[in-house]
Subunit: 209 residues, 2 copies
DNA sequence: GCTGCGCTCCCCCATCCGGGGGAGTCGCTG
DNA sequence: CAGCGACTCCCCCGGATGGGGGAGCGCAGC
């Protein structure tokens, strides 16, 4: 049966065992072909150039270059590339950022085999595929605005135990400004204090551990 | 070739794709046989009873019942059971707790196929198998003592934005006592303040997000 | 029986934090 | 150009935080 061309897929993840699992599932599909694998964002860009897969499954948390940057880089050169985000958590900041970067689908690693191949077919057919679970998480938080880069920077320094004064010195700004940034981001995150703010930022994927 | 009995393996993980990957790798080994799968701790206990695998690969973070509790429960009834921890992070508190619960091996999910099968054979042969990477992490922190249950409880409440007074009221103790617990755990974690302490506890697997 | 440690409580006090207010510059966008 | 938001700085001030000290009780191990 040499019918319609098969969907050419690349999988990008730093866990070899997970790649192996995806390969095993895809091998059982007659209409899907795994043409490339990569363990991080840089490899992904290189492999994409060589193999031009129809659909790319991309993890977000990876060494060297993360998935968001890799998606953005690939989409810049190949706007037609179909990218499906593959991640463990359902952090909304991550999801939103990935979709902004050009992802057309979103898959949790805890999903079943069937859902994965359906997503690949769906995305290849040109449809967006974001599960209701994720869509809700995103909708829940697009209302309250995102943190600015400066606010994220300040919060990141607070997270590692710096006082307002230390953050101010590190950034070359006044302590009052640091306090202003914190006041603003507390309101955005609905945080009760700096510790709570760090926890919420971690939950939403704004900060990483 | 119906030679020596094959090593009977069970894999416990809430990610079906990862289980699939492990199954694919094990299928290529002539001396290893995958006899059972489970998606959480409770299923693991049930499946163990039914199939009595020689070696169990167990994830730590799972819904319903986590891996530590499952390992402890299985080892209580079957002290000879060989348990290998399979996890994403190398948090030392997790590693140490797992080994205390009776794990005989420790595997990072980012390890290669080869290392996994070698670990299975090694553990089945009665050897302990903890990679140097993990052993170092553990050794680095066994010197400074672990947090007490009360301290972990206090820190967990601080992490979600409670003030010392609120924590005191929740626990029915004095605010001074809460401050004492915090002072002690700051010293144990080498934390600069409560926010830093929460971050360090998350890194070490003492707290979960 | 003594020691160590977890847990509890108390004191003092310098410092930090966070909420309230206002205000200026810059750059983007409608 | 007017408005908005990010970023910057300033004021005041009550309350929270954290570092220092000491102390009692109960339980487990040596």
């Amino acid at each position: 049966m040499n019918g319609p061309a098969r969907i050419r897929v690349m999988v990008v993840d730093d866990h070899p065992l997970l790649r192996e699992g995806i390969a095993a599932v895809l091998a059982r599909q007659t209409d899907i072909e795994l043409v490339a694998e990569a363990a991080d964002g840089l490899e992904a860009i290189e492999q994409f150039r060589q193999h031009r897969p129809d659909v790319t499954l991309m993890d977000l948390q990876m060494p060297r270059m993360n998935g968001i940057d890799a998606i953005a880089a690939i989409r810049r050169d190949h706007p037609a590339a179909r990218m499906v985000v593959l991640t463990t958590y359902k952090g909304d900041a991550q999801a939103l950022r990935a979709i902004k970067a050009g992802a057309t689908g979103y898959l949790l690693k805890s999903t079943l085999r069937k859902e994965m191949v359906e997503t690949i077919r769906s995305v290849h057919a040109g449809r967006r595929h974001v599960p209701a679970e994720i869509a809700c998480e995103i909708a829940e938080h697009v209302a309250d605005d995102a943190l600015s880069l400066r606010e994220i920077d300040v919060l990141g320094r607070v997270a590692v135990g710096n006082t307002n004064r230390e953050v101010a010195r590190q950034l070359g700004i006044s302590e009052e400004t640091v306090k202003a940034h914190l006041k603003n981001l507390f309101a955005k995150l609905s945080a009760k204090d700096r510790t709570h703010a760090v926890m919420l930022a971690l939950k939403r994927g704004i900060l990483q551990i």
